[in-house]
């Protein structure tokens, strides 16, 4: 088995379990308990595509990101590398926030609106928006809002919307940006992804190539154990977890704000993948991915097969 495992992180509170594993050396600890001297190397990425390329070129073992990119690479590699999810990190709601008081539902959006989201058409926000359009505006109208969407990174989108000088007046973001935006009285929520999906759904997952998982059973076991421990830590000591996170992550949030984010009742820290199937079903139906399945277990390695996934 490998002596060094290379893991990726991105920005955001959603990667908190990984931050704790890194800071508390949990992976090394569990590997040692299983009799393996393991080193870790943590890499930072700002987006999914650079990370996927790193994974495919063998420069990265375990990637972390949203459900969308994971499903894409899963569908693409079915016949060769067989990339699959390892585990979820949490279930978290995504909000569509707007500063236009006129807009109360999706139907109120018109040409005068610009909705910022990370990547038009392909990001998890864009897909969720399409699913919402289909659900609330009617069958066949899934792309009705696409014309109003604009690709923009979360910080740029928040600055543009709250700065109030550009056409951007809505943002389908992620924590903590959406929470910060909602603190401003000018902004309000139009859409909640939990409602679209009909319940909680996974936001971030980690994934790897089949080859790596098969060749490194001990590492994978240690990783799962580390994940469980860190999630347990978050549940039991949100205060400490927030402190650690604020210390190592560049943030302008206050301690209380971080704690609020972590302990938000709608957030569920769990390795169990939730709401995966609706995404698979929708994405394959509109042709975003070419593979489909009706068992969420096909998308994940067997480490999480006995959890309460969906």
């Amino acid at each position: 088995e490998v002596a060094t495992v290379r893991l990726a992180k991105q920005f955001g509170i959603g990667y908190l379990p990984l931050t704790l594993i890194e800071e508390q050396g949990l992976l090394e600890k569990h590997a040692q308990e299983a009799g393996l001297e393991l080193r870790t190397e943590w890499l930072r990425f700002t987006g999914g595509s650079g990370m996927n390329e790193a994974l495919l070129s063998g420069n990265l073992d375990i990637a972390a990101g949203g459900v969308g990119p994971m499903l894409t690479i899963w569908a693409r590699t079915q016949n060769n590398l067989q990339v699959k999810g390892i585990a979820a990190l949490e279930s978290m709601p995504l909000y569509l926030v707007t500063t236009d008081p006129e807009v109360q539902s999706l139907a109120d959006f018109n040409r005068s609106h610009k909705i910022a989201l990370p990547a038009v058409k392909t990001s998890i926000q864009a897909i969720t928006l399409q699913m919402a359009a289909e659900k609330y505006l009617g069958e066949g109208r899934h792309d009705a809002l696409d014309a109003f969407t604009v690709s923009m990174g979360h910080p740029d989108a928040q600055l543009a919307m709250m700065g109030g000088r550009s056409e951007i007046n809505a943002h389908f973001g992620a924590p903590p940006f959406q929470n910060q935006e909602l603190k401003d009285e000018r902004a309000h929520k139009v859409l909640d992804s939990y409602e679209v999906l009909g319940g909680p759904h996974t936001f971030n997952v980690i994934w790897a190539k089949n080859e790596f998982v098969e060749n490194n059973p001990t590492v994978m076991a240690a990783l799962m154990a580390a994940l469980e421990e860190s999630i347990g830590f978050i549940r039991d000591n949100p205060d400490k977890a927030a402190r650690i996170w604020a210390e190592v992550e560049a943030t302008n949030l206050s301690h209380d704000e971080v704690v609020d984010l972590i302990t938000d009742e709608r957030v569920n820290w769990t390795t169990a993948p939730q709401g995966i199937l609706p995404y698979v079903e929708y994405m394959s139906r509109v042709g975003l991915i070419s593979a489909s399945t009706d068992d969420w277990r096909d998308v994940f390695f067997d480490m999480v097969h006995d959890t309460e996934g969906s």
Binding site: G48, R76, T77, N80, V120, T122, S166, L288
Partner: protein, 300 residues
């Protein structure tokens, strides 16, 4: 020094020669026949620039194909044939031409404006010392700034969409062209500049009629570099600036397909950029060169 002179005379006396003198009759210029040395078949072919370039391109394509096959990782680096296939598919279903057209429009606008701005700055720089300092200072300050640095200003001034893209393009084109043009202007021979002034040319007329043609090789290099950087910037900027869906250019095409991990299509997009580059270089820039620099004999 009469002595020295005497010695010189002495020298010359010694050299008296017994070679016969030769006289030729005048030939009429019309009667001349010239026997040229023959070239071998290979040499004749080798003299054709387009042939040499085609060979280079073929070799590069071959290397790509072979490397792609040995690598055997279609998700990272597709083979040349897979790329060509994706390219033709994209060409047939109209997505690639549409994307290229959409990018091309913005590009030409930004490029054109950049040239105008560069011309203005350089003209100011030639007109006064403070103009020179201004150009130098602006260039050394702004040229190293990446396009994302301009995002906030672009958003404030131009909002989303093409206007902002054009702004960023101007930024990427202007400085390179201005630098080359200015250094070209400074390098124009002193005599030529004096000749121009002698004709009473001044200001814009002097720049148009003397400096620009005299500095043309430098300017053309600047235009080439500006052109290339405009493409680079455009493709990167289409991501940073966001595009409303449905109106994306080549950058968007590449980004979207990359997100969907459709890598042959990504490379088909890049291939389009490459092909446009080759076409512009060999049809436009080369023609300009042939009509100007080569005819004037200013590059050797």
């Amino acid at each position: 020094m009469p002595e020295a002179v005497a010695r010189l005379k002495d020298i010359r006396r010694r050299m008296d020669d017994d070679r016969p003198e030769i006289h030729h009759d005048d030939t009429e210029a019309g009667e001349l026949t010239i026997i040229e040395q023959r070239l071998s078949g290979f040499e004749i072919l080798y003299r054709e620039a387009w042939l040499r370039k085609l060979v280079i391109l073929a070799v590069l394509a071959l290397i790509w194909e072979i490397y792609g096959r040995t690598l055997n990782n279609d998700l990272l680096f597709p083979t040349f044939s897979a790329t060509i296939l994706a390219f033709f598919t994209g060409l047939m279903d109209g997505t690639l031409p549409a994307a290229a057209w959409s990018s091309g429009k913005v590009l030409l606008m930004g490029y054109g404006l950049g040239i105008v701005l560069a011309a203005t700055l350089t003209a100011l720089a030639m007109a006064s010392r403070i103009g020179t300092d201004f150009l130098e200072t602006m260039t050394s300050m702004f040229n190293p700034l990446p396009a994302i640095a301009l995002l906030p200003l672009a958003l404030i001034w131009f909002g989303l969409g093409n206007a902002s893209l054009v702004f960023v393009l101007v930024h990427s084109v202007t400085w390179a062209i201005a630098l080359n043009t200015h250094s070209g202007f400074l390098g124009v021979s002193r005599t030529l500049k004096m000749v121009g002034r002698n004709y009473g040319l001044r200001g814009p007329a002097f720049i148009m009629k003397i400096l620009i043609p005299a500095a043309f090789p430098s300017i053309l290099t600047g235009l080439k570099i500006g052109w290339a950087f405009a493409w680079r910037t455009l493709i990167a900027a289409e991501l940073v600036f966001g595009v409303s869906s449905g109106s994306g250019g080549l950058g968007w095409f590449i980004f979207e397909n990359k997100n969907m991990l459709d890598i042959p299509k990504v490379f088909a997009g890049l291939l389009t950029v490459i092909i446009i580059g080759l076409v512009v270089e060999n049809l436009i820039f080369r023609t300009i060169e042939r009509r100007t620099i080569e005819r004037w004999g200013v590059q050797h």
